[in-house]
Subunit: 188 residues, 2 copies
């Protein structure tokens, strides 16, 4: 089967293709200027985006929103992770956590999918971890070089295989794939 | 005359009332849950908000969006100033600028007003300045305690009269008032 993914982020597209194609699902990229709202929850951002995407292409389509939520910074950068990465970057996050012992952080991803009956389905994935004391590794993108998943010693950017196995994105995709299989593949 | 202001920020409301009532314009607050979009420009955020506000109340109405743009941080916190203030606060900004000599910053405000013909008008105000090395003063709100306007030594939070005289908000309101006077008051 084929599925439409509306995104402007080539790194995300690559990660989705890698994981979904293993499950026999072909990802087709759709480009559309989507409205991203300012909200506290990823679900709210994803919901508005996917509604616009559906209105434009009139076919089942999904979007994804992700963010890094740092406990000691009251959830910052959260839903604004992309903007914060673009402006102050990993170096900025490390500076903000300078002298702070609580390094707990959580990566969250939310997939919003509109089906052929205009119904929106959400699939969430989380990955707990901590913020490193320095920027480490060259894989992945965004805050990967400063995020160490719980139970490991490497950042996501140091071990891309680990990332694709246990990341927030992987976990959201897993739920999404199970849903797609139940809904579509079992009928064929 | 009376004019509707759609805002959830009581501090802004207070500043608008103080300045507009001197010009003989009464401000009435309207509460409505407005969609704030994620965009790089204040104008884009204000435009979407005021359209929603107008659809809800069906009367001429204005909204305002403001932000602090710090040169050394690539414009951060910019259009996301409210969220950034709520999470990392003034202390976070000072930490990010630790060891950075370029303290240049600019406060920007954009008023978007929909008139009775559904036309949107924008009024912009800027105030150049620099970021202080510590949090100073108790007046104002948000980033006022770390912003020192160009040509002065006090922060906005140390001198509220100065703020109401030269702030980005004051400058945007001045343009707005002149427009309102030309458009409405001259006919009465």
């Amino acid at each position: 089967m084929e599925i439409y993914f509306c995104t402007g982020n080539k790194h995300k597209l690559k990660e989705y293709k890698a994981i979904l194609e293993v499950a026999g699902i072909k990802v087709k990229k759709v480009s559309a200027k989507l409205i991203e709202i300012q909200a506290n929850k990823l679900e709210d951002v994803a919901k508005e985006k996917v509604k616009t995407a559906y209105e434009k292409i009139k076919k089942p389509v999904f979007v994804e929103d992700a963010g890094l939520f740092i406990e000691a910074l009251n959830g910052f950068p959260g839903v604004y992770s992309a903007y914060v990465f673009k402006t102050i970057g990993n170096q900025g996050i490390l500076k903000l956590l300078n002298g702070i012992k609580n390094r707990k952080a959580i990566f969250k991803a939310v997939i919003a999918f509109v089906d052929e009956n205009h119904k929106i389905h959400f699939f969430k994935g989380c990955c707990k971890g901590k913020i490193a004391y320095s920027i480490r590794g060259n894989f992945g993108f965004g805050f990967d070089p400063i995020f160490i998943p719980k139970g490991y010693n490497k950042t996501f950017a140091e071990d891309v295989e680990l990332k694709n196995k246990i990341s927030h994105r992987k976990r959201a995709i897993e739920k999404f794939v199970n849903f797609l299989k139940r809904k579509y593949l079992s009928k064929s």
